[in-house]
Symmetry: C2
Subunit: 200 residues, 2 copies
């Protein structure tokens, strides 16, 4: 395919995905029809089928936009080498940034409940992610650097409960809801609270 044809097609596919993630989040995936997507995107259904095989394909593409960068953090050098407590801290700080940078996609990911193959795939990926973080917490506890009185799986649940809840109020570029906090400020605050505690 010639370069001048690829670009517009990609542009349209990206716009379609942006529209789809919003519609899925507001109406729910089950409650969204191809007609709803076509109306929201200002495209005919047949134009949509030119880009994707159907709404489950769109869901898969949208969820990959959350899961791929979330998993990529676990492969960053600072998540791979050094004391496990520092690797875990790096993961927490960076995952907040990924969440803020991909807010609509992560928000959708967190609402997925598992009625279709794609939703079950996303839930499996989330479980695999949690298992990797739990393993890191477990190693940090084994190294004596992370408190050992909380089960590592519970550490992961509480940490990511806190991180994921940021999707409920963080709105970039507004003063409504998040004051003047940038994603970096929020990530630093989450790390400070979770690793060093609120108590002075």
């Amino acid at each position: 395919m010639a370069e001048d044809l690829v670009r517009p097609a990609r542009y349209t596919a990206d716009s379609l995905l942006e529209v789809a993630v919003d519609v899925f989040t507001v109406r729910g995936y089950d409650g969204t029809s191809m007609g709803d997507l076509a109306r929201a995107a200002g495209m005919s259904k047949s134009s949509i089928y030119h880009h994707v095989s159907g709404k489950e394909h769109l869901l898969r593409l949208a969820l990959e936009r959350a899961l791929d960068p979330l998993f990529a953090v676990l492969d960053e050098p600072a998540a791979q080498t050094g004391p496990a407590i520092d690797r875990l801290e790096h993961v927490v700080r960076r995952e907040v940034q990924v969440l803020v940078d991909n807010l609509p996609y992560v928000t959708l990911l967190l609402r997925v409940r598992g009625n279709t193959a794609t939703e079950r795939w996303a839930l499996d990926r989330r479980r695999a992610f949690d298992a990797q973080v739990t393993e890191l917490a477990s190693v940090a506890a084994g190294e004596g650097a992370l408190r050992s009185d909380i089960d590592p799986a519970l550490v992961t649940r509480l940490l990511f409960g806190m991180i994921n809840s940021i999707t409920e109020w963080y709105r970039p570029g507004t003063t409504e809801g998040n004051g003047s906090d940038s994603g970096t400020d929020v990530g630093d605050a989450a790390v400070a609270l979770a690793f060093d505690g609120l108590r002075t």
Copy 2:
């Protein structure tokens, strides 16, 4: 009304509320009709109207079952006297317990979005609750006992983001999802993480 008439009526109203909170949570408040509630409760619509004025009344009663005990914690003696950091710690530990003890009602409260007067009332109550906790965090920071590098409103968001996320996985009386953790264990873990930090 004679005592022997009051008791069965109250029993029915309680059962109805238990059914309603589940139906509202699964289908969403907007998506639930009085017919859905009647079918789920095994009652006629007219029997339901004997107890409540309609589905918004049921929503109000259900939300009060979350909000009343959540607010009651703020009036407990240990939340009223002593250093603010200790009062805040008491509030966090007890709110986890309230959440676990009233799981279906708190879960519903957290899903309310604000399309009706009752939903807007619940959101206002949540904001008032957050403001009280933020004030407590602010006083604790002023007393030099809580780290001053995180805005008190952000402290509240992160703390209650973590606490509220417990509704997503905590299931009492099962080993699925929460291992052998009781509500007390989870509350202690949340307090330890948030106040003293994960790092040893």
